[in-house]
Symmetry: C2
Subunit: 213 residues, 2 copies
């Protein structure tokens, strides 16, 4: 049984579509482990997840295999290996900007389990600044630049209206924040080509569903 | 200038990756129209959107073209044609289940503009039932089944914890709701293969960003 990464594995060679499936594998394997299941075949995994078995074998082969013909995958080893690829133990320092309903909803996420350390939440509404939401005392955006520089923040979660993002992104970028989880429709990576940006376009997702119906 | 759909256009032949780009086109064209821009080339559009010009031409050709060599695209005609493909005028009846922070955040969406008519919001928390959020008086989940049948609800927005989704999906499916905008990690389409499901997996999105950093 191989549970180590393929020596030929290179992050830059992995397609985005494989990367997008990894968190889903991680999630399912985690649940299997919690439920005390220690071994699973690609066929069984395919029935649980809705991917084809050959897709699953192909995906895992990108990283080194992790399985043995006729034996199946060792759930905890596979989970740990995928977690390592996804860097879930990295504890990357991040902040959130915007403590409205969306920001509040996102504070339910277990950031630590996903590889992030959420240090502070910022807003520019005087009625919100200073209040406490899920153990975060909301800070003023005036303190944003200093905080990012002093704390070497790696990633910012953007939960403010699109119209405010251009100026905000400029402040963050100038203070060396180069990764964004962006819920607005303003594309930061179109302005700063060296940033990593993951956008969640809720409207686009809903319209895609409208098409499918 | 052609602004009508290609007679050979068939919804079932369009790949999901093209469909996923359409809302983005619609959004950008809408902004151009609001800003009084009536004509745009694929090259200009590519600079604004971050897609390649050839990608854009290829995508629009799936549906009939909408452009003339050397002239560019007529913004409002193209916007309307894509809106028609996305069925934004359909006003599909939908409901939301779960009025927590995420549900509240989603109530900021202009559903009508995206092709949906949000009729009611349900929750099972006695403290929330009967309260008003953004003009919606929150209803009890006890009334869910009757409401779906009587109103012929087409789509449900799922903002409840994953552990509650299996039972909820069963109630909705039995009452003829066959489309879901699902924010939980419970995959409804794995149980009911004839439903349309668009899942928003926020954790997966964040983990993909973690990989990119």
């Amino acid at each position: 049984m191989s549970n180590s990464l393929n020596p030929a594995y290179n992050r830059d060679n992995i397609s985005m579509s494989v990367i997008r499936r990894l968190p889903r594998y991680y999630r399912y394997l985690n649940e299997l482990q919690i439920n005390g299941i220690s071994k699973i075949s690609s066929k069984e995994l395919s029935q649980t997840m809705g991917f084809t078995a050959s897709q699953i074998r192909q995906d895992f082969n990108c990283f080194g295999g992790f399985g043995q013909q006729g034996y199946g995958y060792n759930v905890s080893q596979l989970r740990d290996a995928i977690g390592e690829i996804l860097d879930v133990g990295a504890n990357k320092k991040c902040i959130m900007i915007g403590a409205g309903n969306l920001g509040k909803a996102l504070l339910s996420i277990n950031f630590e389990r996903l590889g992030f350390n959420l240090l502070k939440v910022f807003d520019n509404d005087p009625d919100i600044i200073g209040t406490e939401i899920k153990n975060f005392k909301i800070s003023s955006c005036e303190d944003l630049a200093d905080f990012c520089t002093n704390q070497k923040i790696e990633m910012a979660i953007i939960c403010v209206p699109s119209s405010a993002v251009k100026e905000l992104a400029n402040t963050l970028y100038e203070n060396n924040v180069k990764a964004f989880w962006n819920f607005s429709h303003f594309d930061i990576s179109l302005i700063y080509s060296d940033v990593k940006e993951e956008s969640v376009h809720l409207n686009d997702s809903l319209m895609a569903l409208g098409f499918m119906i």
